[in-house]
């Protein structure tokens, strides 16, 4: 390979941006005028609300109530904003709250009407609405932590590699060559299989394959900006390399990387859900969208002659994953259009 391949998202990222105040104002105007961007933003806000208020809009199971310190007499306190239990449930919910509430233990799914739940129950009696609402928190956690981790490692390694150059640069780039040429799902499969099933190991497995694209992008930006006059100026007045990277190079390079990051969150959540779907996801019963689909696997075809009998077990989890990824992609797409001077 001669030229460094970029990730699909990186391929579309703009080469550079100008950060004058006038441009920023114009950018916001262009963002507002893009109907798809507004749709994405609204959807994302809805997801934030759904995740944040998951404790209030779901019926919390007994173990969760107990860990919140609520008794039979005070069990509705978590819906009352003046009680401390409300804020605890929203801000620092105990781990047991992430275990999906169950209505019985039947392996056959139950409709909303027959089980008295919002969206029905999936295989194992797990409440679909509960799993999806609390799963929103899991999705944000997985997406933000993995991308955050990949972003930090990538930006650090990339800027070092670009600024220092030489042997280090060569070694780092060959290493990223290797990692980028591996299918993320296969790497995640190996890592999760060896380390064991858990949401933390999934995040680690995905972050391992995600950081090199940030490193490459950052390196490219650093190489370009390194030659700018203001960097030469900073060097001339005796600033140290790390200071130059942090104060002059980073702020100018960050734009395209943020776009890639916003486009990446959706695909990270997708990979995590795919792993869960294959049965290499979170612990059984943990609120996670991929697992909701995994529960549905035996029932997606309904009963003989009635293919849509259990439609809700695969429809709702599928829809919510699609909408979540769509929201991030719409937003990332809009960011790119706004910040890309070529499309003016």
């Amino acid at each position: 390979m001669t030229e460094a391949p970029a990730t699909p998202a990186a391929l579309e990222a703009p080469d550079h941006q100008l950060d004058t105040p006038a441009r920023k104002g114009k950018a916001w105007k262009r963002f507002r005028r893009n109907p798809l961007a507004i749709v994405g933003l609204v959807m994302l806000v809805a997801f934030v609300l759904l995740g944040a208020f998951a404790p209030v809009i779901t019926e919390l199971p007994r173990s969760c109530l107990r860990d919140l310190g609520l008794t039979a007499a005070t069990q509705h306190d978590y819906r009352n904003p003046v009680k401390p239990a409300f804020w605890r449930a929203i801000l620092v919910p105990p781990k047991s709250c992430f275990t999906i509430a169950r209505v019985g233990f039947s392996s056959q799914p139950g409709s909303a009407a027959s089980t008295g739940t919002v969206l029905g129950t999936t295989s194992g009696g797990y409440d679909i609405f509960y799993g999806l609402a609390w799963g929103t928190r899991t999705a944000f956690k997985v997406g933000l932590i993995v991308v955050g981790l990949a972003f930090l490692v990538g930006v650090f390694v990339g800027s070092l590699s670009g600024y220092v150059g030489g042997v280090l640069d060569n070694a780092v780039m060959r290493f990223t060559d290797i990692v980028i040429s591996l299918p993320s799902l296969v790497v995640a499969l190996v890592v999760v299989m060896v380390l064991g099933k858990s949401i933390e190991n999934i995040m680690l497995a995905i972050a391992v394959t995600a950081w090199p694209s940030y490193a490459r992008l950052m390196r490219g930006e650093v190489l370009r900006i390194k030659e700018e006059e203001y960097v030469a100026g900073a060097r001339a007045i005796g600033r140290r390399p790390l200071g130059i990277i942090a104060r002059h190079v980073l702020p100018n390079a960050i734009g395209p990387i943020v776009i890639v990051a916003s486009l990446d969150i959706g695909s990270v959540v997708l990979t995590a859900a795919a792993l869960s779907f294959l049965g290499l996801g979170a612990e059984i019963g943990y609120a996670d969208w991929g697992q909701m689909i995994s529960f549905a696997r035996d029932w997606i075809l309904g009963l003989p002659g009635q293919p849509f009998h259990f439609w809700y077990v695969s429809f709702w989890p599928g829809l919510i994953i699609l909408l979540f990824v769509l929201a991030w992609n719409l937003l990332g797409d809009a960011f790119r259009d706004v910040l890309d001077p070529r499309t003016e």
Partner: protein, 333 residues
């Protein structure tokens, strides 16, 4: 590049495997069911408690000899399974690539040439929704509609009747490539051809939708970029017909990022077949790897990982050659 990736991947695997107990690792050396019973002897024989670098050199030596261990999932040596199942997956992947590139490039071109018109807006929405569709969700929904409800396409590779007619040597069906579509033509068995093709429709569509959406997006933005360049203005100024300008001058340059992306299409295909084959019960490499991972069948998953890494590197070499074909400015010295 190939040796570098090989060393990198195998080294990473060996280091990762050091986290496992020697008993778990012994499975990668076992060749038959009987051997599993005297696992202690195997640990000693293969020195699984030696330092990692000794284990690494020994293991790589075995891999070079074609010994990738015994697959508990398919109950045969890993290499045998790889050989048997690779054509099955390759057939799906080859069928998916044509619509991915065809639809992606033509729709991306149409969108860029009609910028901000209805075609562009529709393409944009279609591509962003298609790109956001999780493979497993699309696959499940297609299965419910086209198998569960309409009954048009079935999961699996062939129907039971066809499978029975192909079984055994007495059937007279010779396997030349392992790919059913080609083999059935060579055997002049059209009923097998149609049956196999019908079973491929849903997996191929599932694989193609997400990937063609990506190609579409890149094609659109790269063609828009090319259309704004000076050489396009020059071509127009000297009075060339618009079609020649867009298709010969602009599009050819716009294809370069798309070719870069096609390396990623292969990675997307590999990720995709693991899920698609699982959903449609299609007996290829992906289905095997997915069930092996759930069974903690290390030998199989590692064999699959090494194999896919090598495939991706080979494909990247191919992409490099393609660059030279599309753009004569990029040639190897």
């Amino acid at each position: 590049m190939l040796p570098v990736v090989f060393v990198g991947v195998t080294l990473a695997i060996v280091l990762l495997m050091q986290l496992l107990s020697p008993y778990q690792r012994a499975a990668a050396y076992v060749q038959s069911e009987q051997q599993i019973r005297n696992i202690d002897a195997i640990i000693k024989e293969f020195g699984l408690e030696d330092p990692w670098y000794q284990q690494y050199s020994r293991w790589v030596g075995q891999v070079f000899k074609g010994n990738l261990g015994y697959s508990r999932t398919s109950r045969e040596p890993v290499l045998t399974t790889l050989k048997k199942r690779f054509p099955v997956t390759l057939e799906l992947a080859l069928l998916a690539i044509a619509p991915v590139l065809g639809v992606g490039i033509s729709m991306g071109t149409a969108a860029a040439l009609n910028r901000d018109k209805a075609v562009d807006q529709i393409t944009r929405v279609v591509s962003i929704v298609g790109w956001s569709l999780p493979t497993f969700v699309l696959g499940i929904w297609l299965l419910v509609i086209f198998y569960g409800w309409l009954g048009w396409f079935q999961p699996g590779r062939v129907s039971t009747a066809t499978a029975v007619s192909l079984a055994g040597t007495s059937s007279g069906f010779a396997s030349y490539t392992g790919m059913l579509l080609i083999d059935s033509i060579l055997n002049w068995r059209w009923n097998v051809f149609w049956d196999a093709l019908r079973h491929m429709v849903l997996p191929v569509v599932t694989l193609a939708v997400v990937l063609s959406a990506q190609i579409m997006r890149v094609m659109r933005s790269s063609l828009l970029d090319a259309l704004g360049r000076d050489y396009v203005r020059t071509a127009r100024a000297k009075g060339l017909p618009e079609r020649v300008v867009t298709h010969k001058h602009a599009r050819r340059n716009a294809l370069i990022p798309v070719i870069t992306l096609s390396g990623f299409v292969l990675i997307g295909l590999i990720n995709g077949v693991v899920i698609t084959e699982t959903i449609f019960n299609y007996p290829g490499l992906g289905q095997w790897a997915a069930s092996a991972a759930v069974n903690l069948d290390y030998a199989s998953v590692l064999g699959f990982a090494i194999f896919t890494a090598m495939m991706v590197v080979l494909a990247n070499l191919l992409v490099d050659v393609l660059y030279g074909v599309v753009d004569p400015r990029i040639r190897y010295e």
